[in-house]
């Protein structure tokens, strides 16, 4: 520990910590603007300057490491004057007219850190009047607006774009007073490489970057914030859902969430506020070919009647919480003994493989953040599970080697150091080729594989069958073999073929991904609760042949087109959904249900972490919460829905260690 003195107070701090951090840890406030606890310190705004005994000039405390015996003052008259001058300079630089800016407010309601800093310094006027060249406001992006006239050039957005999503779209063009934040080589945001993760908007201290859907809808102090989990995919990012008077205003990443630490993708952050689909607001029954609004009792009675005593197939969306999945399973599988009770995407063979493999096989998501080599097999992490992709992208500049096996072009493949595009042959061949080449590099041995000359022969054969170049495969294999912390990430359908799965495990062992207790494998598992669905036995694909009735518990999900067409031919369709669609139009009974933001429940993410989603919005009148619908139905069908879903989740063997507490 390092001892130093701040404002006469003796303080202990860990080595490597900045003076700003040490001060804050001890309750001493130093004003800042460009600093952000989740971004690397920048030292540009100079508002946090402190006086250090023995040093000629004031130093920015955010970038000054603590040192033994340091004597620091943070509140001298000189520093107070400097802060006033720095703020005056900032106000004179661009358009900081407060009256009508969306983040403007009082000391209590202001969401503008620049304004707050000015209030804190008791600034009642601007000693220097502003003088700036007007920048055109960039309104080309669908989700947010960039107004460079409000910018204080703190570069938080640039740092966030680099350090949170690793996209490196934002930068600064020109220098000095002509500096301006731009996207790519000064492209309009809407045409740039921006992937709409929204990290920049979340960190912007002023009104330079504002979200369209929430602008002028109230300051943070007027919003209700509910901590929850995103239901967009199996990553399970922690989110803060901000609402006002029962309406969704904005979604932000939860800085404290252990999975994502504040970063989100467009699916979780922006899409919910831009929902175009129509809500179903009343239960309906099809009478004479037309859907008629009815009461809940009538609709539930009709549904129960359709399902009683017949062979029915049932499908549930894995966007729904575990409680709903469990009720569904208890009702249809255990209660009604239906033979085809599945979840969407349940063809995924992870569960089947898990039954036979030596487990656990897979590790945690943060392995991606600490990996020095990542192999992505057939998955494009710029298109799906984007936050997992961010964990890799943001480290590419720090030396992480990325290898992608991809049959087609993708943005993710474009970032890779080695792209293996097999012309023919199976994925297993490619994985085996890598194992062979890695073997030749003298790495740890693996079982069931040829040695020495035989290995070379096999490699030649594999190269021929896949059409890959020897140099490329050797280089990629070498990168994997030499890595201290390699990680292999892939879609779960890799487990569908035992050959592929075996090749995968062999490769993992060969390159040391499974050494010393490491579990350097990560399958993506699809949707928010796909793992939970698999654990509850809801795997398999929907078969409607022979079913007299089909029950769909969709919540706010949508079915793929081919499935919708098939289901429209079903003899009887009961749909529990939130949004109207061509599917609900074809249903015989429609039960309007809640969306993700309107219900609380548990979510099991791809690394086996159980998280709690909390309802942030009220369930609209006429609509029912999803588990409640199944409970009412079960009641009418005389099925008991008791049981412990937590215990049930742990019954089946799982590919990844589950943390269910």
């Amino acid at each position: 520990m390092i001892s130093l003195t701040i404002n006469g107070q003796s303080i202990q701090a860990e080595p490597g910590v900045s003076v700003l951090q040490a001060a804050r840890q001890n309750g001493i406030q130093i004003p800042t603007l460009c600093d952000h606890p989740n971004l690397t310190p920048y030292g540009g705004c100079r508002l946090c300057v402190v006086e250090v005994k023995g040093l000629r000039v004031p130093m920015a405390s955010c970038t000054l490491p603590v040192s033994q015996g340091m004597v620091v003052e943070t509140e001298t008259p000189g520093l107070r004057q400097s802060r006033q001058v720095i703020l005056s300079l900032l106000f004179s630089e661009r358009n900081h007219f407060c009256p009508f800016c969306q983040v403007s407010g009082t000391a209590v309601t202001s969401d503008c850190e620049l304004q707050q800093a000015a209030y804190h310094q008791d600034m009642t006027h601007w000693p220097m009047q502003p003088q700036w060249n007007n920048y055109a406001v960039d309104t080309t992006h669908p989700y947010f607006i960039l107004d460079n006239n409000r910018c204080i050039l703190c570069r938080r957005c640039v740092r966030a774009c680099a350090e949170m999503s690793g996209n490196f779209t934002l930068g600064v063009e020109e220098r000095g007073a002509a500096s301006v934040v731009v996207a790519d080589a000064n492209l309009p945001l809407g045409q740039s490489s921006c992937i709409s993760c929204g990290s920049c908007v979340q960190v912007c201290p002023t009104g330079a970057l504002i979200e369209r859907s929430s602008a002028y809808q109230g300051s943070q102090s007027q919003l209700t914030v509910t901590q929850s989990v995103c239901a967009g995919c199996s990553v399970g990012c922690g989110i803060n859902v901000m609402t006002r008077d029962g309406h969704l205003v904005r979604i932000e990443g939860d800085w404290n969430a252990p999975v994502n630490h504040g970063v989100l993708c467009k699916q979780g952050r922006f899409k919910p506020a831009h929902e175009q689909r129509q809500r179903l607001t009343t239960p309906m029954i099809k009478v004479d070919g037309e859907l008629r609004p009815v009461s809940w009792d009538e609709a539930l009675d009709a549904a129960a009647a359709r399902l009683k005593g017949v062979e029915c197939a049932a499908l549930i969306s894995p966007r729904l919480p575990v409680e709903t999945l469990y009720a569904f399973k208890r009702l249809f599988k255990d209660g009604l003994h239906s033979h085809n009770v599945v979840s969407l995407g349940g063809e995924d063979a992870g569960a089947e493989y898990a039954a036979h493999a030596s487990l656990p096989l897979e590790g945690r998501l943060d392995m991606l953040s600490h990996a020095d080599c990542v192999l992505a097999v057939g998955t494009d992490l710029t298109n799906t599970h984007e936050v997992a992709g961010f964990m890799v992208k943001r480290n590419l500049q720090r030396g992480v080697k990325l290898i992608v096996i991809a049959p087609q072009e993708s943005d993710f493949a474009n970032l890779a150091h080695y792209v293996l595009r097999p012309g023919a042959g199976s994925v297993a061949d490619v994985l085996d080729a890598l194992s062979c080449a890695a073997r030749g590099e003298g790495s740890a041995g693996g079982e069931g594989f040829a040695e020495g000359e035989e290995a070379a022969e096999t490699l030649t054969a594999l190269l021929r069958s896949t059409g890959l170049e020897a140099d490329l495969v050797q280089a990629a294999a070498q990168a994997l073999a030499q890595a201290a912390a390699p990680v292999i990430v892939y879609e779960s359908d890799l487990y569908a073929s035992p050959d592929v799965a075996a090749s995968l495990v062999r490769l993992a062992e060969q390159v040391g991904a499974l050494d010393a207790g490491r579990k350097g494998l990560l399958s993506l598992k699809g949707s928010a609760n796909s793992l939970a669905a698999a654990q509850l036995g809801l795997d398999g694909s929907l078969v409607t042949n022979g079913s007299k009735a089909v029950y769909l518990a969709l919540g706010d999900d949508e079915l793929p087109e081919y499935l919708v067409r098939r289901l429209q031919a079903a003899p009887c369709l009961v749909v529990q959904a939130a949004y109207a669609s061509s599917l609900t139009a074809s249903a015989d009974v429609v039960l309007p249900s809640a969306i993700w933001a309107e219900q609380s429940g548990a979510y099991l993410n791809l690394e086996g972490r159980l998280q709690q989603a909390n309802a942030a919005l009220p369930v609209p009148a006429g609509v029912s919460e999803n588990t409640a619908v199944l409970q009412s139905l079960a009641q009418r069908l005389q099925v008991a829905l008791d049981g412990d879903w937590r215990a049930e989740l742990a019954v089946r063997p799982s590919l990844v260690t589950l943390t269910l507490n």
């Binding site: 900032l90 004179s92 630089e93 000095g176």
Partner: protein, 595 residues
Amino acid sequence: MPFYRSHVLISVDPECIARGAHEVLDALNDELMVQGLFDEVQVLETSRLGDPYRFGPDLIVYPEGVHYACICADDVPFLVREHFLKGRVVEKFRALETVTADEELGAPKAKEVRIVLRNCGKIDPHNIEEYIAEDGYQALGRVLTEMNPDMVIAEVLRSGLRGRGGAGFPAAKKWQLCRSNPGDIKYVICNADEGDPGAFMNRRVLESDPHAVVEGMIIAAYAIGSAQGYVYCRAEYPIAVQNLNLAIQQAREMGFLGQNIFGTDFSFDLEVRMGAGAFVCGEETALMSSIEGRRGEPRPRPPFPAQAGLWGKPSNINNVETYANVPQIILNGADWFASMGTERSKGTKTFAIAGDVVHTGLIEVPMGITLREIIFEVGGGIKDGKKFKAIQTGGPMGGCLTEAHLDLPIDYESLAQAGSMMGSGGMIVMDEDTCMVDIARFFMEFTQEESCGKCTPCRVGTRRILDILEKICAGKGTLADIDRLELLCAEVAKNSLCGLGQGAPNPVISTLKHFRAEYEAHVLEKRCPAKVCRPLIRYEIQAPVCTGCTVCSRNCPVNAISGERRHAHQIDPKTCIRCGICVQVCNFNAIDVLS
């Protein structure tokens, strides 16, 4: 804008034309067209290149700088094919003597001691053997075979060599710090960015004697334990870059760079990296960011480069001149070097004298020489018989020194105490016709343009300071503006992240200190005492002297002068743009500039 890979300057001096320059020109254009090179090679007509009687018709090809003499039209096709297509200089057409007179570095004047500049203009920088003939690489040989790194550091420390880039930190101390930091990979960097307006000492050394720098860097690398070095040279010095690259290549061929130098187990290699037009990249941490491929912005210190520099590794960064001194120190000994200069500033310093002196150009003098000696003895005094007013040292981050400081012995401490600094060695001499407010405005305009924009005080503060200076020069300033100027200068100097912002207010602070009356004249009387600031001056024709010859009114670009032939003329102050043409053309000195 079209991009030409080559430029040909052909003299169309009348004597050359008489010898057939036009025919050569036509033949040149024709042949370039035939060879399909018309869009790649630009042909420019120019005036006399060399003595036309000896060389005409002649032409110079750039960027090589080859001077071809006595060319006739029939020679042209061969010349074009050889030089532009095959890339071979045609020796038989080459002029036998160098063309340009060395205007910036003549023979050493009295009081000069040439160490860093000793070879400049005397040896061919394209030929390593000429450098070797002047004891080149002897120092390296001695270091590698007779000295260990600690001995090298001790010798350089004893010599008292201080960083010549401006900060004046003892060079050997910096090497020691870098050496003592843990790590196998260390870098040696040469700051050849030389951005100060009016400074060209480093350029001359790099162009004319690059091996001095290379050898110095190798010795430093040995002392520090580095295997890789970079010279960061500004892009505006293409010949320096070219000569450096050639020197490095030749040094490699001779085994002075690369693996196992002189058969020892010391290996070191060097690369040139070019800047891209940013003064701020002369700041050491911004320079390193630039080499790393990032935006040229300075980083906070600590950590210092010796601890974590280029790519996070311990790095030593010194100026061109610092390295260029090292071989001589090793060869002649620390005592020899320390015998020159003052108590705390040893050795010599190169200076680039510019401005209102008779002899502008480069000089190298021992530390401790006075400003008076430099300006009036070495510099030949103020030209056109004007009076000395001030001298700016240290570039845009330095301050002005006045008559009162003329007997100041030049060294790091004395200049700093007087409110200026040594800087890299640029000196701008100003006579009585200089407006000090305008000078402050000029330097602030420069630093404002070059600010990187990372920190608020420099980015916005220099802009606000410049606004006030422009306001004052336009005659709209108030006393409150001067107060605000002082406040802003103090705050910008205190709170800026790097030396650019910390030093930018210096010209303003020092001119305010020594020439406050001029500022107050601009503000209170709306008068520019030096008669420079256009909005505050007016041109007036003295009626008794004016003969009405109409020369001025005919030359006035805005028709501001009226009057009839043989009658005194008048200038309309509202239309007059103060271009000064009338003063230049008047043969009777009838026009006064008043303020």
